[in-house]
């Protein structure tokens, strides 16, 4: 392990003495610059689209709303929810991924490992097959329930076993249970011939985002991100290894439970609204770690900012590539993310 936890000599090491290699300056720069870029990105993204609207009109639509103007209506009812939704979802997936990678110490981990994506996908497959008339609102609700059940079972199997929940066990239980659920959804999809509908939902998209969804999501996601920041120090400790964290006096079981709950809220809410675009959760934490070091105190907020930037940018691109025909959001994320990730893979010096 290249991560270094150095404790001052001659004392019994406690949690307070652990120093993580990090670059606070880079992190501060990313946070400030990122937030400015985010505001700018949201503004640009709201003004671009099938109907081009000037930035000044965007300004007046937000601060001096006039319901009689079509442009103002478009901005208020169509563009703003989707752009804000993209920002929220991007931040959620990125933070969830960062927590997963920290807790499991596996560079391949993301929120999908908690059975969240496959749980939501399974619930959707069941809904599409047996209740095809279900309204949108209920679909979202059921897929969140599916995500929750997926995560609950993975966590339960992991921790009910002898010797408790170790990171390796969480990873394996997650991978196996996700494979089981995906296989069942695949079977249902093949049998009922609904594969393409499912694929469309699964490919992800923020196009249909409505204000009411944002209103429901915002407090949860906001709260969970704050929770993640509060938990960040414990996650840094856990990322050194379970034994070290325990040795430093951490109650690892509690931290893992809290981490799992936060991941569930963030990723579950996001998956049920936009589908499985978990790739954000894989690449952004790697990118952030490369930029700011291994301290999760910085990784988590920076991941949130960078994740929403990527999502907004991807959403904008999805609308721009072929106007009036949206390219799937998930595909664009991969398109932007893959070259980036390849570059990082060449640069990466440490394991986590």
């Amino acid at each position: 392990m290249n991560q270094q936890a150095t404790a001052s000599k001659g004392q019994i090491p406690t949690a307070d003495h652990v120093k993580f290699r990090s670059r606070p300056w880079a992190a501060t720069l990313i946070l400030i610059g990122g937030l400015i870029a985010l505001v700018f990105g949201i503004a640009v993204s709201v003004s671009f689209g099938a109907a081009d609207i000037k930035l000044s009109v965007v300004w007046t639509a937000v601060f001096h709303f006039n319901p009689d103007l079509t442009d103002h209506q478009i901005i208020r009812e169509l563009r703003m929810p989707r752009v804000l939704g993209a920002a929220m979802v991007g931040a959620s997936f990125a933070v969830a991924g960062a927590i997963m990678q920290g807790m499991t110490r596996n560079p391949l981990a993301d929120s999908g490992l908690m059975g969240i994506n496959s749980g939501a996908g399974f619930a959707l497959a069941v809904c599409f097959a047996f209740f095809p008339q279900l309204p949108f609102m209920y679909l979202i609700m059921y897929s969140f329930i599916g995500a929750g059940m997926g995560a609950g079972i993975v966590y339960g199997i992991g921790s009910l076993s002898r010797g408790g929940l170790t990171p390796a066990r969480l990873v394996l239980a997650g991978a196996a249970f996700s494979a089981l659920l995906s296989a069942l959804s695949e079977g249902i999809a093949l049998y009922f011939n609904i594969g393409q509908d499912l694929a469309f939902w699964y490919a992800g998209g923020v196009a249909g985002t409505k204000w009411f969804q944002l209103k429901i999501m915002f407090p949860w996601i906001g709260g969970a991100i704050i929770g993640a920041i509060i938990l960040s120090r414990s996650i840094s400790m856990l990322s050194l290894g379970e034994d070290i964290a325990k040795g430093l006096g951490q109650r690892t079981g509690l931290v893992k439970l809290a981490g799992a709950l936060i991941v569930l809220i963030l990723a579950g809410a996001s998956v049920s609204v936009v589908g499985a675009v978990g790739f954000i959760g894989l690449i952004i934490p790697h990118l952030t770690r490369y930029l700011v070091g291994v301290d999760y105190k910085w990784i988590i907020p920076c991941s949130a900012v960078l994740g929403s930037l990527l999502a907004i940018f991807a959403d904008l691109t999805a609308r721009m590539i072929i106007p009036k025909h949206e390219t799937p959001f998930g595909a664009i994320i991969a398109l932007i993310g893959v070259p980036f990730f390849l570059y990082l893979a060449r640069k990466e010096r440490r394991e986590l």
Partner: protein, 347 residues
Amino acid sequence: MSVQRTTTGMSYESARRRRGLGILAVIFVLIVIAFIISVNTGYIRLTPLQLLNTMLGKGTDKQELILFDFRLPRIVISLLIGAGLAVSGAVMQGVFRNDLADPGILGINAGAGLMVMLMVSFYPTTNAAPVYFLPVIAFVGAGLTAALIYVLAYKRHEGIKPIRLLLTGVAVAAGISAAMIVLTLRLDPDKYQFVATWLAGSIWGTSWKFVLSLLPWIVILVPYVIYKARVMNVLNLGEQTAVGLGANVNREQFKLLAAAVGLAASSVAVSGGIGFVGLVGPHLARRLVGPKHQLMLPASALLGALLVITADTIGRWILQPSEIPTGIVVAVIGAPYFLYLLARTKS
């Protein structure tokens, strides 16, 4: 006095070895049982007596046709791909030292899937597409993707590092999946159904030709990997220790990974996306016989074969006369057993 016996390292080791060999024997017997059941499963039943007669060349023409032209090749193929994928997965997990590594990690499934999808989308209908050609196309796709990942992860002065290869593999596989999503949404429903069945993993090549094209890969590479078991044990100790023990780490890793890619690509070409065997087979083996590769690799091969032959038999039997893709059944029976083992054993 029994205390004395168990505390000496040697006898513990040999007891463990005996136990491992016992487990291997049990799995082998299970495979034989599964084989007999599988031969009997299908639209037309063959009793064990008829089966024996047909095997000895005394059956009717119809019985011979069913046994030799339909059932046997398929069963042999399912055994071969099970062994191939599981051993390939064991090597990937060993070399990358990552529990989540499976044959798909080097883009093999994704590459094969994309090529199949492209090919199907070129033809006006699925019936016009030369299905026979599918495994060849899939093999080419798998090989090209693995090569691309290798090239992208290569650095002139450092060569190949497992962690870089792993991350590059994930990135390339994600890119290919994205391309497949875009294609999926453009395909017409009929073709989509065809591709989805392929991706879910169904055994395609069911004639002796495919057995012959698959056999050399498995027969040469599986023993080769088992022959390298000691090297894999050393690699498992970590790169620095392995170098310290005198292993040429980079070269051994390359040889092993090349063997794993060969195994996985040839298997995936005839089976479609049965990735789960490669992930879970090795983990099951490790939990049953321990981490030493001399036992663990043969156990993986046998368990993989058992898993796929069982899944294929169930898939053919449940919804007669239609079939469930083998890949789905593999996950449905493999995952619960694996989760049970995971909960029961200490890590």
